[in-house]
């Protein structure tokens, strides 16, 4: 029993240490807030575009967060649908995406996030 207690305490101490390691103001982070104000028609399928030069992991993260925010609508990578959600790090990239894929801005949310529609 004593050995079990000795084996358990370091794990709890590790959990506490993680808290102090990442300590900072207690702020709530919601990825879905980035897309606030943008809506898709019920049951719609839309496209999704991220930065062209985004790292694979960052682009995937943006895509999954967009899926979560717009559920149950299905977002598919690319600009093949009539409506396209864009999430880019550089807001000026929105204009370049519109020119490249013949889209126009329907609505904007956070900087770098917009709902685009095919011309």
């Amino acid at each position: 029993m004593v050995l079990a207690a000795v084996a358990a305490v370091p794990g709890v101490a590790r959990d506490i240490s993680v808290y102090f390691w990442k300590a900072g103001p207690l702020r709530t982070t919601r990825s879905a807030d980035r897309f606030a104000g943008l809506t898709l028609p019920p049951g719609a399928k839309a496209g999704f575009l991220a930065d062209a030069d985004a790292k694979a992991g960052d682009a995937a993260r943006r895509y999954y967060e967009a899926l979560y925010a717009f559920a149950p609508s299905v977002l598919l990578p690319g600009a093949g649908a009539r409506l396209v959600v864009a999430d880019v790090a550089d807001p000026t990239e929105i204009g370049r995406l519109c020119a490249r894929y013949r889209l126009h801005v329907v609505a904007r949310a956070a900087p770098g996030v917009a709902l685009l529609e095919r011309d």
Partner: protein, 438 residues
Amino acid sequence: MIRLAFACAAALFCGVAVLRHAGQRGLFAGAAGAALGLALSGAAFSAGLLFLGATGAAADAVLLALAAALWAARPRAGKDSPQAPAPRALTVLVGAAALVVCALFLEHGIRYPEGGWDAMAIWNLRARALFGAPHDLRLVFTPELPAQHSDYPPLLPALVAHGFFALGSRTEAWPIAVSFVFGACCVAALGSAVSNRRGPTHGLAAALLLLGTPELLTLAWNQYADLKLAALVLIAVVLASEGHCLPAGLAAALGAYTKNEGLLWAAALSAAILAAQGRREALRFVAGGAPILLLLAYFKLRWAPPNDLVAQTSLLGALSRAPPRLPIVARGFALQLVDFGKWGCALPFVLACWLAGWRRRQRTLAAPFCALSLGAVFCIYLVTPQDAAEHMRSSMDRLLFQLWPALVYATFVAFAKAPSPTPPGTASRASPPPPGTR
């Protein structure tokens, strides 16, 4: 809120009724009953969605009716024999550890209410889809999003969606609460199950060991399904160990309806029961899980797209991949032992118990189940169509945690001494009678 309270009450009553009908009582009946009840609620709600497109409180009414029937037929509760209380210092230590873990869970839940990666990409995503399109299940289980694993069983998303419907909104508080309840119930069920077999001191030590496993907190605050499955596997193993194979089958089947791996653990448990208790008990186990397994089969055949790992695996390919991977997979297991961030000192401690105490172990059902399941984990990585090292890096800790509470239970039951005989004239409840003698 009233609808949610009704749903929670129905779930709790049903889960506790199942366990009371199986002769369980005390903290184990309460904790395991709460976890089992939530799982039953998710299963019942998903059945309504899959078959009828129904999203009302009908599933809760069905659970209540079932609970009432089981409660009426429960056996009379005997008197508990007095047991020596646990040392005060240990009780205080467990309480402090529980408070710390709860506080850290709450703090992380405030910071990141949407949960971890898999919660956003799979479990809560599907729950939000069920809430948004309950009558368009083709959209919910679309095969166009393979990374979102539409083939995963829908128990957890349905449970979360059930709460969304009851509250009328996709509030993040509900999946956080579900994750907390499963985590707390898992710890309480483990401690009480060990306490019932080996006394309160060892029960508290087992609970402390689980609290001292960092992976418990990580999976809880990430809102992953692995913790829910781990709780259900523990309940199934405890019930089967005490000869209650019918409700054990139900718990194991609910585990299979939570994640695909749950089917593997259910098969391993049925094999362990067959070997230890015979064909009759094994059939009871299968019978207990049959309704949920049929529901799972319907979901897989009607709605789920093919599983990516299974679709990419052929027998010949698996056999050719396995031999050269033996040292790689063995190394993967060894690395888990030294992964302090996930296991602390708990996993090495459990391994040391088995190595040092092998000859004097008490034979139980839980141990062969754990051995079979760990062997299955080993084989999964031998034959996976993905890169074995990468697959282990991304998933082995969660796969092992699904078995972890059952492994801790097996360890304490195998090596801890049973409490001293109680004074004459009082019945002992510390060790249940062997199966077949009820």
